[in-house]
């Protein structure tokens, strides 16, 4: 349970600083963040003790056990070390940021994001489930994106954040793939179980892709060459963020992953060459480039890259001792790099610049900061009596025993020494160029002062650690190192000693060469800088990344423009072409006969006439499509013939529905035509018409063949179930209606919801829309002067009650005879619309004051509530019940809950149809009112 608390505290606590209002003062958010962090440290304490006792604490919370998914947290030695680093350095950074950030900056947001990131990092190191680890991993990418882009008004910060997200997020996807493969190979996603399956996994055929994918994830996160370039760009972040992200946390996540999966994945040649190679290249590349940075943070960024390379190289060397050295250097790097970033931030804060060409001679202005920064930089260089020396010594020693390289075994110590030389040189530059080397030049802020004591305090603590570890390694870091390295290896630790003095030996000689060589290199810097700027190739990974991103964006733009050039015709034609091709291909390759074995039924004359009428009207509609009113007549002929087809082939419900819908559709089209040009000009060239005709024939032919081959084949329907159960199960004789309101009631509920959404969408579309009445391409069209004929308006008023009665009848009988909510609703709507048509909108509005949106809402609500009602009786959603009751005078009456549901459908349908037509019909009226009101 403390583990769960440990992860949840920062994640949930991240809300706290954001919720604190600005008037609460600038200390409040930092205080909240500090309290949360301290609470998390306390929560980590039992886990830490358990890890030391050798019985790691774990918590498993099953979520989808069938899929092997659960919440799994486990805190072994390796995780414990990282938890300490994350929380400890986090606490120091919170204190530091309190003084670094200006009062007017969004402090609440900063500390919220900071805690969010902290929680994500804790999740990564504590996860005992591969996929859960990936989730937290991506969360670190996202939250670091927000942290790096904290100064979002700065273009540089946004660019740096986006690049960090692209690279680390992309690597996260590779990691996900790798973890899925790993889980498939092992048959489990639980990391603690996986760790014992190393032999099985290394022998598996999928080992190579798995390893490469996971390495891709780790190397992007830990800024290994050639994915290193996001890290210097991420220096656009506020310095506290850099101090946290690039010392102990974000970039160490990749290293952590390598350490975590070390027992599973290491021990092969591929691991040695891939991991070791990436580490070696990064080590040299970063060390070389760090020397040539003029930006203080840029130097630290490249040095971070280099040191990460060193750690990765140590893991790649693949011996237990090298792994111990890697973990040791990881701890040391976290402490001295965090303090260096903080010192750089202090200098930036006090001088207003980070350019080392301007900052000189600060020893005279801020000696305390200078002393601290110099100690930390010396640790970075690997000077004796500081922690960096010890781990670097171990590293040098390890490179001497690389038998795997064969005859090229001298290469590793040489490269290591070279990297050491550069490390000393850039550290010397950090010390000499900033604190000595004459007087400052044109500083934006002058003279610089010592920062507030509490801003210095975190640096003091960290540098103190560097010294303590460097002088008394056995008393300070040894137990933590043994614990973490032991749990990383999953095997007994090799013998090693953390002493400062091992006698005169090869590693010491390498250290000395590095020290002397580095100082020499630094003194020759002028000549070196000139050489570097002349001869270093301008093409680097950053430029490659940026140009490939640009190329991809423009290629995507071009492709989009080819497919979608603003013409619906082109898009539709492409879609239809694809559909025709998809149908033609199997048709061309199939050997099955088009015609099935079923005997055909005879054609009767009446049906033939109806079909011919329908087809003829459709063809006319297509031919005369520019004469729009005529097209409507043709369309209504088709619709009515469809109604008759439903009647002819035993579908009374459909016929009724289609008839009513036909009326409202045509009315709607007429209303719309009022606002559209009544005639169209020929727009298409003959070639285009030919293409469209071919497409149309292709689609039509395909649909016809499909119909034919279905109708001539025997089939087995699932409808027998509905037919058999309609009366006993649903209590209705009209199977279609019972399906709608009972068997498939959930679908119907969805459908009326869609209807409601469409109607509201239409209402929104028509809002504030004013259109001129339609014209014949420029000419005003004359309408009949007589607005409302007397006969029609009188007749419709008389007919209204009758029509409503019919609709009630249709509704009530719907369960047992053709009818039901849909049909009744449509009939009601038609009757009401007829009023508006005959007597005018204004008159109808006076008589019938009704808002349709509530009607729709009630309809959907009643239908849903009927469904939910069955929960009260312990049945699943939309279980229906029915019973027969006898009432005096009325006789026997059947009541079903489905009827209530159908009533919801009825209300929704009435509301939808009326809302659509009334809004459209009102358009002119509202516009006139708006104009009057506005004028």
């Amino acid at each position: 349970m403390p583990l769960l608390l440990l992860v949840l505290l920062p994640l949930v606590g991240s809300l706290l600083p954001a919720l604190i209002l600005r008037p609460a003062g600038r200390t409040a958010p930092a205080l909240a963040a500090a309290v949360v962090t301290i609470a998390a440290l306390l929560a980590a304490f039992p886990g830490l003790l358990a890890a030391f006792a050798g019985t790691p604490m774990a918590v498993y919370w099953p979520w989808l056990p069938q899929a092997g998914l659960d919440l799994a947290l486990r805190m072994d030695g390796l995780a414990a070390l990282f938890v300490l680093l994350i929380l400890g350095i986090g606490l120091l950074v919170i204190l530091y940021a309190q003084y670094y950030l200006a009062k007017e900056e969004a402090l609440g947001r900063f500390y919220s994001l900071f805690l969010l990131f902290m929680g994500a990092m804790l999740g990564v190191v504590l996860s005992d489930h591969l996929l859960q680890l990936v989730v937290f991993w991506e969360l670190t990418s996202l939250s670091s994106f927000l942290l790096i882009g904290f100064n979002h008004q700065s273009r540089e910060a946004r660019g740096g954040a986006a690049m960090a997200l692209t690279i680390t997020g992309g690597g996260g996807l590779a990691l996900l793939a790798g973890c899925l493969l790993l889980g498939q190979i092992a048959g489990t996603y639980r990391i603690s179980a996986l760790l014992h399956m190393g032999d099985l996994i290394r022998a598996h055929a999928l080992y190579v892709p798995t390893l490469l994918l996971i390495l891709l994830g780790a190397c992007t996160k830990s800024a290994q060459f050639p994915f290193h370039f996001w890290l210097p760009r991420a220096m656009a972040a506020p310095t506290p963020v850099s101090a946290y992200l690039h010392s102990a946390t974000l970039v160490k996540a990749g290293v952590f992953l390598l350490a975590r999966l070390f027992p599973v994945l290491s021990g092969t040649d591929l691991w040695f060459f891939a991991v070791g190679g990436a580490g070696l290249l990064t080590l040299l590349y970063g060390a070389y480039h760090a020397l040539f940075q003029h930006d203080l943070k840029g130097l630290l960024a490249y040095s971070t890259i280099s040191h990460l390379g060193l750690i990765v190289l140590l893991f790649g060397i693949d011996t237990p001792l090298a792994a111990v050295a890697g973990v040791f250097h990881l701890i040391n790097h976290a402490t001295f790099k965090a303090s260096l970033f903080m010192a750089a931030g202090i200098i930036d804060h006090e001088t207003g610049t980070r350019d080392m060409r301007l900052i000189n001679g600060l020893w005279g202005y801020m000696p305390r900061t200078a002393a601290l920064a110099m100690a930390a930089a010396a640790a970075m260089a690997g000077v004796p009596l500081l922690n960096g020396f010890l781990s670097k010594e171990m590293f040098f020693a390890e490179t001497l025993h690389l038998s795997a390289l064969g005859p090229a075994r001298w290469l590793a110590p040489l490269a290591a020494t070279l990297a050491g030389v550069f490390a000393v040189a850039y550290s010397a530059r950090f010390i000499h160029d900033v604190f000595f080397n004459g007087q400052p030049r044109d500083l934006p802020k002058f003279p610089p002062h010592e920062p507030p004591r509490f801003m210095q305090l975190p640096v003091v603590i960290l540098v103190g650690q560097c010294l303590l570890v460097g002088i008394f390694p056995g008393l300070t870091v040894a137990p933590f190192l043994a614990l973490a390295a032991g749990d990383m290896l999953g095997a007994p630790l090799p013998d090693y000693s953390l002493a400062i003095w091992h006698g005169f030996n090869a590693p010491l000689a390498m250290s000395l060469v590095a020290l002397v060589g580095g100082l020499g290199l630094y003194s020759a810097r002028r000549w070196l800088f000139a050489l570097h700027h002349q001869h270093w190739p301008a093409m680097d990974a950053l430029a490659l990344f940026q140009s490939s991103v640009e190329r991809m964006v423009s290629a995507a733009g071009r492709l989009t423009h080819v497919l979608e050039n603003g013409s619906l015709q082109r898009a539709t034609a492409l879609l239809l072409l694809a559909a025709v091709a998809a149908v033609c291909w199997p048709l061309a390759t199939t050997t099955a006969a088009l015609t099935g074995p079923l005997r055909l039924s005879p054609i009767d004359g009446l049906t033939l006439v109806g079909a011919l009428l329908m087809m003829g009207a459709a063809v006319l509609a297509a031919l005369w499509h520019r004469r729009r009113f005529t097209v409507l007549i043709a369309l209504s002929v088709v619709g009515l013939m469809v109604v008759l087809a439903f009647v002819r082939f035993s579908a009374p419900d459909l016929a009724l529905t289609q008839l009513a819908v036909e009326v409202v559709t045509i009315l709607l089209l007429i209303l719309a035509l009022f606002f559209l040009p009544q005639h169209g000009r020929p727009e298409s060239r003959p070639l285009r018409r030919g293409r469209d005709l071919l497409l149309a024939l292709g689609m039509g032919g395909g649909a016809g063949m499909l119909t034919w081959s279905i109708l001539t084949r025997p089939f087995a329907a699932i409808s027998d179930f509905y037919l058999a159960n309609s009366l006993p199960g649903g209590g209705g004789a009209n199977v279609v209606n019972v399906i709608l309101v009972d068997f498939r009631g959930f679908d119907t509920l969805g459908e009326i919801t869609v209807l409601a959404v469409a109607a509201l969408g239409i209402f929104a579309l028509l809002d504030n829309l004013c259109l001129e009445a339609g014209t014949v391409e420029g000419l005003p069209r004359r309408y009949a002067d007589e607005r409302h004929t007397l006969v029609l308006s009188l007749l419709t008023r008389l007919l209204l009650p009758l029509a409503l009665l019919v609709s009630i009848h249709l509704f009530l009988r719907g369960h047992n005879a053709p009818g039901g909510g849909f049909i009744a609703g449509l009939v009601t709507a038609v009757a009401l619309i007829l009023q508006s048509m005959a007597s005018g909108i204004a008159w109808t509005r006076q008589q019938w004051r009704m808002r349709y949106q509530p009607l729709i809402a009630w309809g959907v609500l009643i239908a849903s509530a009927t469904g939910a009602g069955s929960w009260l009786f312990g049945h699943p959603f939309l279980t229906s019940a029915f019973g027969h009751f006898s009432l005096p005078l009325v006789g026997e009456l059947e009541l079903a809950t489905a009827m209530l549901f159908d009533f919801g459908v009825y209300l929704a349908v009435v509301g939808v149809v009326m809302l659509i037509l009334a809004t459209l019909g009102n358009l002119n009226l509202r516009c006139a009112e708006a104009r009057k009101g506005g004028g």
């Binding site: 050039n565 013409s567 619906l568 015709q569 039924s601 005879p602 049906t607 329908m614 087809m615 509609a621 297509a622 088709v638 002819r648 082939f649 035993s650 419900d653 289609q658 819908v661 409202v664 709607l668 719309a672 606002f675 559209l676 727009e683 005709l693 497409l695 149309a696 024939l697 689609m699 039509g700 032919g701 649909a703 016809g704 119909t707 034919w708 109708l711 089939f715 329907a717 409808s719 037919l723 309609s726 004789a733 009209n734 199977v735 279609v736 399906i739 459908e751 209807l755 469409a758 969408g761 239409i762 028509l766 829309l769 004013c770 259109l771 849909f822 449509l826 149809v913 659509i916 459209l920």
Partner: protein, 112 residues
Amino acid sequence: MEALAACTVAVLVACGVYLLLRARTFSVVVGLSLLSYAVNLFLFFTGRLLASAPPLVGSGAGAEGAIADPLPQALVLTAIVIGFAMTAFVLILALRARGELGNDHVDGKGGR
């Protein structure tokens, strides 16, 4: 009869598609309506062409066993109503487009 049904569906689809590919909104809406008729008919026809056998049970009409398939009918019934909502939505969209753009072109050439 089956051939006639197939022919009808084919002609309706072809005319609908042709109209769908015209350059002005109104034709597209009419084309969509024709297409939805065609699709509804097609779905309905998959339940077979039976005369005088509505899917009403218990009334004696289906006593001989030959009764129309209710499932496609239920599907088509909602399809008709949804089809109406879709037609209406597209139509109003066309009106709005005319209001916003000042023309009723869908070929991207209205601005010229």
